[in-house]
Symmetry: C2
Subunit: 297 residues, 2 copies
């Protein structure tokens, strides 16, 4: 699977998904919206200062979006969430609202989009072999506990099921394959595997501890003489903490030049958090990943 | 600077460095020794079971190495260290001796190769722009304290000085550029910068916290509107803990396909720990990095 195939799937499925964009203001956000609109990937409801939105739409030549006026960032966030509750929108997307304001509204116990799962961030990269590799969580959870990791795995596995991967392989990343008691991610891998089983997260293969080379490289598997092909074929890499996930994903994007997109999981709908540093293509890929989740919902 | 230029420098310098190899036994180790010998990079003293060594030398067609018989791994390690003390060898290299046995001998308070610095591992990758980027420590120190990190930075900076980089730029890696109190590497960056200054580690520029994209990518710097060019131009990336460093280095090697080599620093001489999963070129690069350290000693 790759981003181009995924885009074609979405276009063919005529999903009619609607994305609620919270406080779109900057040209980059409007460029992303325009390119997704032109590809007929989805519709958009733009929620924020009406004047600014109209001006930016005209600037980039964007037409046919619903506009909902909102006084400030918090109002815009709650309006967007309301659209999701009323099933008039299916995906939430951050425009120029500060991330903490958006997530605070999402996590609101009364009016938000909370589920029993943790919110977690998943980066998807397309490797040179045109396979999707997920890295989670390098964006939201700083130092997740084992229970948090079960939820992060749950979110990513469910995401891959919707991508059409029936039994995603989840590598529990560490610096070694030995259960080294001094390295928490290596020492606790077996316990985490048991917790995932106990949580009834089915249709996935969780294994580890494993270093990154053995998680993704056939050459490393052959040299290290590991027969089990589950190694070297990870769909999802679960990282121990945020700096590891953040750096790993960024090295795959900036140095390996893998195409990429990202999405926040664990809420009632996918949440797209575009980053300023994302390229136009990365922004479009994130929208593709969000819409894809809705087709199979 | 790149590995080919570095190799030529060494050949031209006629360094006459001698590498003491502890317990060489496997064909891969002898292939690495042979290729370094053929390039006239250095000499080798091979320390271990004489019969095995002679047999393997014949197999790969290797000639002209000193052979020192040693009864077992520990004896071989101490014999090699003795050669270093007597200045008959200048670099220590792991053959098939277990890493812990070798490092235990190196760290022996009486007979070892201890200095006042911590032992630390440095991976050097050659980016597509033919620049060297160091990642430390993804190999030895699991969860270094701030004091440990000062020593790790000291080792890497000294290494880059010998590579000819007068004022290496050291990026303190985190997931953000903000001093987020919840992320230790982000919260403690300023304190670490002060400790580096207090330790009189001069001729380097330590900065952070910084996420990987802003540490190495000009595009990220432009988009994030950071004027200071120290960003996006790191020579050395200091990682918070071992899994982050290990995964980052491996993604640069396996996914970005950067040429690489690695070396252990902080002892009285450079230590080369080849890994089974290293390619022939990576092994040669590690030897190049080790020998380079001796030219300017």
């Amino acid at each position: 699977m790759d981003f181009i195939t995924l885009k074609e799937k979405i276009i063919n499925a005529k999903a009619n998904a609607n994305i609620a964009v919270v406080q779109p203001e900057s040209p980059e956000v409007f460029e992303a919206i325009k390119s997704a609109s032109m590809e007929n990937l989805c519709h958009f409801s733009l929620i924020g200062d009406q004047k600014t939105i109209l001006m930016q739409m005209e600037k980039v030549g964007l037409k046919g979006c619903e506009i909902i006026n909102a006084a400030d960032a918090t109002c815009a966030a709650y309006s967007a969430i309301d659209l999701i509750h009323r099933k008039q929108a299916h995906i939430l997307m951050k425009g120029n609202v500060p991330t903490d304001v958006l997530l605070k509204a999402v996590l609101d116990h009364e009016k938000g989009l909370r589920t029993t799962q943790l919110l977690s961030h998943l980066v998807i990269v397309e490797t040179h072999e045109r396979a999707f590799l997920g890295v989670t969580d390098g964006g939201i959870n700083i130092q997740p506990t084992l229970a948090d990791k079960v939820s992060i795995i749950h979110n990513a596995v469910k995401f891959f099921h919707r991508l059409g991967v029936e039994k995603p392989k989840v590598a529990l990343l560490s610096a070694t394959e030995k259960p080294n008691p001094k390295i928490p991610s290596a020492a606790q891998a077996n316990q985490l595997i048991d917790l995932v089983k106990a949580a009834n997260i089915n249709d996935c293969l969780v294994y580890g501890p494993v270093a990154f080379d053995l998680a993704i490289s056939r050459r490393a598997r052959q040299i290290k003489k590991v027969d089990n092909k589950i190694y070297s074929n990870a769909d999802i890499v679960l990282v121990p903490e945020i700096v590891c996930g953040n750096s790993l994903a960024k090295s795959l994007i900036y140095c390996a030049k893998f195409h990429s997109g990202g999405v926040v999981l664990g809420a009632e709908c996918p949440i797209i958090l575009l980053s300023r540093a994302d390229s136009a293509q990365e922004k479009l890929n994130s929208i593709i990943l969000g819409v894809m989740q809705c087709i199979r919902c």
